[in-house]
């Protein structure tokens, strides 16, 4: 009997600890119904869409794509403008990134299509305004994503519906649409977004689309279509894809698109203004434009230190970036290194620098900083010049030391600056070039901020990027993954530039409007006003100056079809300071950047090749773009 008791007790214990049901649901799964029935869940759904929106922000790399997670979030110097010569830096040349990275975000488009098709049937759970706002945002994001596709590939398949996974294999082989049709589709989606969303008044949510963001982006997209129609009809590589309209837009349609761009830009007027909150100091005002939330911002991507996903298995784009650490040099920051530097070619868009006297000799400066006197405030707010100060530390940029300097700059450059950099050898050396630790007679041969050819980490052009660099932060907070300033993807200045360019292209009565648009920009920049005789080049140059380092120039020279001329065996220039000991003065020499990288653009790169793997899966995507 006792035995039975033992057994019974033990069996009861065993069974108590057991008897679990097999129907266990995994933790953290939300059902389809719940996602569209609850406002917070739809918000989360929208957050996913925004997280994946192809915004070319601080961490976008033209050869790698949209970098989520810590692996890519520190290499901000792999910047689009480092392949087109606005900056020189980590790329060996334009070809390193000109053919893209196989961008094909139809999975993200599907996520948007699901919302557009499903949300209406759950509309009773919300107010009509709320539903329309979300649908409007969805149309905005869809147009945004297709624009990211069309500017790379030309015509791509337009998928408007949620494709059934059980559909026949043949019906999954969606063919390409014409480039023009894609632009028209984008326009209609932006129009839908505009129509659906409510006027936000003064409260514009940051990090999401709003009613007037739609026409702002429409003006950008239509301007692209217009210029491709006009200039792509003159400068192209021929091929099947072009013959079938998959790439290229008939020239006859140019004005229709320019008019659409102009009209869209005009629609935005009155809802945003150029930032002038920092007046009267126009330089400081322009610096703060990129660091302080203001009413010029139309669409932002924001970042936070406390994004839980940044380092996780499914990283997103909300975590901190590394702009501060990777745009200026180590002495002003806590970690990381700079690798991309504004070229002298870019700086000269604002006019030649006064570094050579009329007689050809280099101008002598008592201080490096003196060069900055009288330059355009916007330039000084965009680029750190030698002698500028950040966080109390000057950019003591210097390429080397001359004992004495005689003759002209041109002569010296012809001599190829041949003096060896050895500080130990011989007394007859006139020029010392050296590494960061080299000292000659107690003087640093180069400053702690560069210029160096020993590695990539100090400027090689004499300049550093200033736009977006947060001067308010302590150096110790400027390590990798510590920057959280927002990326401004669309600001009112661009809308004005889109409007001016469209107006110039339309000509006639619109020209006056173009002039006034440009002069609003120039006034805020602290630049002298343009005059009535301005040309399309004036407008384009203004665009390059205003939108420098904002991932625009690369796309602009492609749509203008000028890239193959602008980047034709091109070397970029530097403006390098030297110290002359005998005179205790500085001079600046304009010379080739010391790495002598060459930039070339092949005409077939006006379109990227369709992703190879997709061609293998869908024969209807052929023909590939010309030249591939």
């Amino acid at each position: 009997m006792q035995k039975i008791n033992y057994i019974a007790v033990i069996l009861v214990v065993c069974l108590l600890g057991s008897c679990h049901k097999l129907d266990l649901a995994p933790v953290g799964v939300i059902s389809d119904e719940n996602v569209f029935s609850n406002a917070n869940a739809v918000k989360a759904y929208m957050a996913d869409i925004y997280a994946n929106l192809p915004i070319e922000d601080f961490v976008y790399e033209p050869n790698q794509g949209f970098m989520a997670g810590n692996g890519g979030r520190w290499q901000c110097f792999y910047h689009t403008d480092a392949i087109d010569g606005e900056m020189v830096g980590p790329f060996g040349g334009t070809g390193d990134a000109a053919q893209g990275f196989g961008f094909w975000p139809y999975d993200k488009i599907r996520v948007i299509n699901v919302l557009i098709s499903k949300l209406p049937s759950y509309a009773s759970n919300f107010t009509a305004d709320q539903v329309n706002e979300w649908l409007g945002e969805a149309y905005f994001c869809r147009a945004y994503t297709y624009f990211a596709l069309v500017k790379r590939y030309g015509g791509v398949p337009i998928v408007r519906t949620v494709i059934d996974p059980n559909a026949s294999a043949a019906s999954l082989l969606v063919p390409r649409d014409k480039e023009e049709d894609v632009y028209n589709f984008i326009a209609s989606d932006f129009d839908s977004a505009y129509a659906l969303m409510k006027d936000p008044g003064n409260s514009v949510p940051q990090g999401t689309a709003s009613k007037y963001a739609a026409p702002a982006y429409k003006s950008r997209a239509m301007l692209y279509a217009g210029t491709i129609a006009r200039y792509g009809s003159a400068n192209y590589v021929d091929g099947d894809a072009r013959a079938k309209g998959f790439v290229g837009i008939p020239a006859a349609d140019a004005n229709t698109f320019f008019q659409a761009a102009y009209d869209a830009a005009k629609l935005v007027e009155g809802h945003f203004t150029l930032y002038t909150g920092g007046y009267p100091d126009k330089q400081q005002n322009y610096v703060d434009l990129f660091l302080k939330p203001n009413n010029e911002d139309i669409f932002l991507r924001q970042y936070t230190q406390s994004d839980p996903n940044t380092g996780g298995p499914t990283p997103d784009n909300g975590g901190p970036h590394s702009w501060d650490a990777t745009m200026t040099c180590r002495i002003m920051t806590a970690d990381g290194l700079s690798r991309a530097y504004p070229s002298e070619d870019f700086v000269e868009r604002f006019g030649a620098l006064p570094i050579v006297n009329p007689d050809g000799t280099p101008t002598r400066f008592s201080n490096r900083a003196d060069l900055m006197q009288g330059l355009e405030p916007r330039l000084l707010a965009t680029v750190y010049f030698p002698g500028a100060v950040l966080r109390g530390i000057p950019f003591d940029v210097q390429r080397g030391i001359y004992k004495t300097f005689t003759g002209s700059a041109a002569q010296e450059l012809q001599n190829n600056l041949t003096s060896p950099n050895d500080v130990q050898n011989g007394a007859n050396i006139n020029l010392w070039l050296g590494d960061i630790n080299a000292v000659v007679n107690g003087l640093d041969v180069i400053g702690r901020a560069g210029v160096s050819t020993n590695g990539d980490d100090l400027t090689r052009t004499g300049f550093y990027v200033r736009k977006y660099v947060d001067y308010n932060k302590a150096a110790s907070s400027c390590g990798l993954y510590q920057s959280t300033q927002s990326y401004i993807d669309m600001r009112y200045a661009e809308v004005l530039l889109n409007r001016a360019e469209a107006a110039m292209e339309l000509g006639g009565a619109a020209l006056a409007d173009a002039l006034s648009d440009i002069n609003q920009i120039r006034d805020r920049a602290g630049a002298p006003p343009a005059t009535a005789g301005m040309t399309i080049d004036t407008v384009r140059n203004e665009r390059c100056k205003e939108l420098a380092f904002e991932h625009q120039y690369w796309w602009d020279i492609r749509r203008w079809r000028t890239a193959d001329q602008v980047l034709n065996n091109r070397n970029m220039y530097a403006m390098l300071p030297y110290y002359i000991t005998s005179e205790n003065k500085y001079i600046f020499l304009k010379q080739l950047e010391p790495f002598k990288r060459t930039y070339n653009f092949q005409k077939n790169w006006y379109y990227e090749p369709l992703p190879g793997g997709e061609l293998g899966k869908n024969s209807h995507l052929f023909p590939n773009n010309p030249g591939y």
């Binding site: 799964v29 759904y45 996913d48 139809y106 494709i163 990090g207 806590a334 000292v439 997709e614």
Partner: protein, 1073 residues
């Protein structure tokens, strides 16, 4: 519907078993009369009872086993001969005189013993009767290797168990292992291996556990390890496809005088690195740097490349005026200690047997700061109780707790920077130890290895296992026993991660000031807490009986239910008061406050299984076994919830055939058995609730209005049909023993086919559909290979010795592989995987090194850029397609990647009087590695180099122009600095190796001396782990991982910067009281 099927099948099988179980009732009645029960007791030569010894009638083979006290009761009549046998002891025959209780003392024998009892799935079998490919490692063979990880101790001892130790970093237990290559990682769409190999299923005392638990066991608590490699593992069903390792812990024995045996042992080791890269000194660095600058072709064109370091600068270091830094020596020390203590108690009486184990391990690191260190406590208490007659219970309680301390710097970065920082830099600014110097990337290894500066990470694990067993001999049916088992397991991982900000300095000679720069900020403390609870319940009926004196039947039906639940959370605060606790954070620094949960650590899983096995043998000649398992898991969709995994094994013991005995005398051919097995096994590890539709939360999100909003993301189109991959295993083998164990061996051949390997079917689905797919059971593969074991045991005079060699070969081939249609025939040749061998390494075939400019000028194959920049010493490769250009089309398969294809081990043991020696040689071939980063080329990241790159082609006069055809060159292993690094078959090295894994020499103090002071035994020994390695590899240990495949988990090799392997020298002693 499916459930019904299951119950139908289970009922059907139970019915058969019941029929078998019921038979003996009637059988017993018919025997009647004559025999009467008599009792016996069996002990070994030390008087310790032998539990589980086999007692049988000589002619009928009808037998039983002894209980935990070594006692038995058997029916016999006078004149009957009963045969008693037990693992490792000589068989004893006893003629029953009648009416007496006998006491048999068995004498141990060495060498193979066919009566050894081997642990197999849910039971034990006599070695002679084992039909599967099962290998066993006994405790004494295990512990001869001294290491902190039990997995490493198994290396070279089991044929087919492939073990690669990746690192000896204390507390990392970074060893990859699999059985016969079965756990090989799954290839992704590009054919790249993704993820790590899956280890086999590990069962410790009947409970599924993790490979980390196995590694962390105290070796002295292990009694034996069984490795099931074929269909014999099928009894573990859906988790068995990669084989099973069964670990059984020690049980207490009964002492004649009821006394405890107490053994204390200590092992003191000194570790040293097997191979640690050696950086160049400043003079060498500057020489290479200047050479590199000259080699840079762009500089040559302008003809103006100045030397970065002048002769006079070099002279400053050469003369010793300035000191060069060896960063590796700055942070490492030649020897680091490792100590193990162990206390064992075992003993008991008629009622209770007891085994108690307490172990302690502490391991230091080879960093000067010892900032990585590890310690572990293990305990185990195994109690067996005879509750009443026929009712036995056992309580097994065990646990471990360990702590790994590490600095808040990734170990691989420490090695990376120690290898590549330039030797002209100094660890301290102005050589003042108060001011660590600022180095590139803020990476100063002297600081990185100092937890006081960078912050200390503490990783703690606690694991508890409690198990209750009950066995009941069901009265009335001889041989029928009911068993119940319940195990409760609980584990905790409790981590503290402190990130401290600190200053690095530069010294300004001019102003004589130190410029501080604050890095590694902000200071934060993070706590992570993971818990996991596992319960396992088993109820079973076991039956063993002999019918008609010839038909031996063993049966088992078992019901098992497991429940696994895991939870975790983590939180981070700013680290402001210097205390590693959350409360001490500054509440104002909310910016760095995070709270989170690792969704992968949230587990909620139920499994249910019904297991059955039936063994049959006829007079030990014809053997057959059938097993099945019906597995259900909440992981699977209701459509695919239950899986049935049958296996069949057959064998023929020719040596027991009378005709064979007449042909070859049994003392010549002691044993000859041929056997075969076939079974279906499953593998569910890749599955992850992909049959559920809906949305995952939280997913990647966005910052909206300044605050973070988590996203939801669709789980993908559910695949309700997704199920475990199926693995069909065939094994054929032969076992033989000659001259009573003088020579023995076995040979196995196996084929394992997998189908339904889960894979995302995106390769043929156009991206425009945007459909996020779930995995589907798409791909297949096939693994085959052989295993061979040969043993020789002999005693010559007083010297007893054993030689045992084993060899395992395994190769994997893809079956169907879902892939995108190839764009060309070449693409098909190059990239298609279907029906191809896996783990293929593509590359150029090495041609040689250019030895002169005349050779270069005469070379009409373009190696790139028209050979304009080629200099003597550069490598050239074969133009396979003869198109005059070396490009990707010249790549061919050159080697196999990952774990070695051929693994072998050789154990040599000998004893003479009180001395004993054992040697374990372990090695592998058909094994290749490629170096990465610093080991692949000098001046990586424009920093320093390793010493081997001094042996290179260079101009005899360092100032000579290397592009001048008249320049005199000195040849070397490597091309000149700045030339392209090795590629293809030059870079992929044959890593074949054989090493002395273990060498132990022991001496047992004479018992005469010890008896007087009350000590039974003292054995002292010296031992070495990884004493010497024979390999063609240079500059790295062959097991140290180099470069991984593209897309393969980078962490496998961490850029080649893993903490190196170690060699240890140990001395130890064991004292028994």
């Amino acid at each position: 519907m499916k459930k019904l099927n299951f119950f139908g099948r289970a009922a059907w099988l139970s019915a058969i078993l019941c029929l078998i179980l019921l038979r003996p009732l009637s059988a017993q009645k018919t025997e009647g009369g004559g025999p009467s029960p008599f009792k016996g007791k069996i002990t070994n030569d030390k008087g310790e009872p032998l539990a589980g010894a086999s007692v049988r009638h000589k002619n009928s083979n009808k037998g039983i086993t002894t209980d935990t006290y070594g006692e038995f009761t058997i029916s016999a009549k006078p004149g009957d001969i009963i045969v008693i046998s037990f693992i490792g002891y000589a068989e004893v025959s006893h003629v029953v005189a009648g009416g007496e209780n006998i006491h048999v003392t068995m004498k141990p024998v060495s060498g193979a013993n066919l009566n050894d009892v081997i642990v197999v799935g849910y039971g034990t079998q006599k070695k002679a009767n084992v039909l599967g490919a099962v290998s066993v490692v006994k405790a004494e063979d295990l512990v001869v290797t001294k290491n902190e990880s039990v997995v490493n101790m198994l290396s070279g001892k089991v044929p087919g168990l492939r073990i690669q130790q990746m690192s000896s970093e204390p507390g990392s237990f970074n060893t990859q292992f699999d059985i016969r290559g079965f756990g090989s990682a799954i290839n992704d769409a590009s054919g790249n291996v993704t993820g790590n190999p899956t280890p086999p299923l590990i069962i410790i005392d009947g409970v599924p556990r993790g490979s980390g638990d196995l590694a962390r066991m105290d070796p002295s608590e292990i009694d034996n390890v069984s490795v099931l490699k074929d269909a014999s593992a099928a009894i573990y069903g859906v988790k068995a496809a990669n084989g099973v390792i069964l670990v059984t812990t020690k049980r207490g024995g009964r002492n004649a005088n009821g006394k405890f045996n107490i053994t204390y042992s200590v092992n003191q080791s000194w570790q040293q690195f097997l191979d640690v890269p050696d950086p160049v000194n400043a003079v060498q660095y500057m020489e290479l740097w200047n050479e590199n600058a000259q080699r840079n072709f762009g500089n040559n064109v302008t003809g103006t490349a100045p030397k970065a370091y002048s002769d006079s600068t070099i002279a400053l270091y050469a003369s010793g005026k300035l000191h060069s830094t060896n960063w590796m020596k700055a942070i490492t020390r030649p020897l680091a200690p490792e100590t193990q203590h162990n206390l064992n108690m075992s003993g008991g009486n008629d009622k209770v047997n007891y085994f108690f184990d307490l172990g302690y391990l502490t391991q230091g690191s080879l960093f000067k700061t010892n900032s990585i260190n590890y310690n572990r406590w293990n305990f185990r208490s195994n109690v067996n109780v005879n509750i009443t007659k026929g009712l036995r219970g056992a309580a097994l309680v065990s646990g471990y707790t360990d702590t790994k301390n590490a600095p808040n710097s990734a170990v691989w970065t420490i090695f990376k920077y120690a290898e590549n920082l330039v030797p002209t830099d100094q660890p301290y600014a102005n050589n003042n130890p108060k001011y660590p110097s600022l180095e590139p990337d803020n990476a100063n290894p002297v600081v990185m290895t100092n937890s006081d500066i960078v912050g200390q990470n503490i990783y703690k694990n606690k694991n508890f296992q409690g198990q209750l067993n009950l066995e009941y001999d069901i009265p009335g049916i001889t041989g029928l026993m009911a068993k119940a088992m319940y195990n409760y397991g609980y584990s905790v991982a409790d981590n503290t991660i402190v990130n401290k900000s600190f200053n690095l300095y530069t010294y300004d000679q001019g102003t004589q000031t130190y410029n501080a720069t604050l890095v590694h900020s902000p200071s934060t403390v993070q706590r992570q807490y993971y818990t996991n609870t596992n319960t396992l319940m088993q109820l079973s009926l076991n039956y063993r009986h002999q019918f008609g004196g010839a038909h031996n039947v063993t049966g088992l039906v078992l019901y098992e239910e497991g429940y696994n639940t895991g939870d975790n959370f983590q939180a981070q605060e700013s680290f402001s008061l210097g205390l590693p606790y959350l409360f001490a954070g500054n509440a104002g620094d909310a910016n760095y406050r995070t709270v989170g949960q690792d969704k992968n650590g949230l587990v909620n899983l139920v499994t249910r299984s019904v297991v059955g096995r039936l063994d049959y043998d006829y007079r030990g000649r014809y053997l057959a076994e059938f097993s099945f398992r019906e597995d259900a898991s909440s992981k699977f969709s209701p459509l695919k919830r239950w899986g049935f995994f049958p296996a069949g094994l057959i064998g023929w013991r020719l040596s027991n055939e009378p005709f064979m005995e007449s042909l070859i005398a049994p003392n010549v051919l002691t044993n000859l058995k041929i056997r075969a097995s076939y079974g279906l096994l499953g593998d569910d590890q890749a599955l992850n609730y992909q049959w559920i539709s809906g949305y995952n939360y939280p997913g990647p999100g966005a910052v909206i209005n300044g605050s973070y909003v988590s996203g939801v993301n669709a789980l993908g189109v559910p695949n309700l049909a997704l199920t475990w991959m199926q693995s069909k295993t065939f094994n054929a083998g032969v076992d033989f023993d000659l001259f009573n164990g003088l020579i023995g061996g076995s040979f196995d051949y196996f084929i394992r086919k997998r189908t339904g390997i889960p894979f995302f079917p995106t390769a043929q689905l156009p991206g425009t559909s945007g459909i996020q797919v779930s995995q589907a059971n798409l791909n297949g593969d096939k693994t085959n290979g052989i295993e061979l074991v040969l043993t020789h045991h002999h005693i010559i005079r007083k010297v007893s010795y054993t030689i045992s060699g084993n060899l395992g070969v395994s190769r994997i081939k893809h079956g169907y592989f879902e892939e995108t249609r190839a764009a060309s025939q070449y693409d098909q040749y190059k990239n298609s995987l279907t029906d191809r061998y896996s783990n293929i390494w593509w590359g150029y075939l090495y041609g040689g090194q250019f030895s002169s400019y005349s050779q270069i000028y005469g070379y009409n194959i373009n190696t790139g850029a028209g050979n304009q920049s080629v200099v003597p010493g550069d490598y050239y490769y074969q133009d396979i397609n003869h198109d005059g250009v070396i490009d990707a089309k010249d790549q061919v398969p050159i080697a196999t990647r990952d774990l070695p294809i051929v693994n072998f081990g050789l154990t040599l043991g000998a004893s003479w009087n009180n001395f004993d020696i054992s040697v374990l040689l372990q090695g592998a071939t058909d094994y290749h590695v490629q170096f990465a980063e610093q080991l692949a080329a000098p001046l990586q990241y424009q920093r320093s180099a390793l010493i081997e790159f001094m042996n290179r082609w260079h101009t005899a006069d360092p100032n000579a122009n290397m592009f001048d055809p008249n320049t005199v060159w000195v040849s070397g292993n490597y091309p000149t600095t700045g030339s392209p690094a090795a590629d293809g078959s030059k870079a992929v090295q044959n890593a074949t190796y054989m090493r002395i894994k273990t060498l132990e020499i022991g001496y047992a103090l004479p018992k005469k001396l010890l008896g007087k002071i009350g000590i039974q035994n003292i054995r002292i020994y010296i031992n070495s782990y990884n004493l010497a390695t024979l390999t063609g590899m240079k500059y790295s240990d062959p097991e140290h991982p180099g470069q991984v495949n593209n897309n393969q988990d980078w962490n496998i090799s961490q850029g080649g910067y893993l903490y190196p392997l170690n060699r240890t020298f140990s001395a130890g002693a064991a004292v028994s009281f």
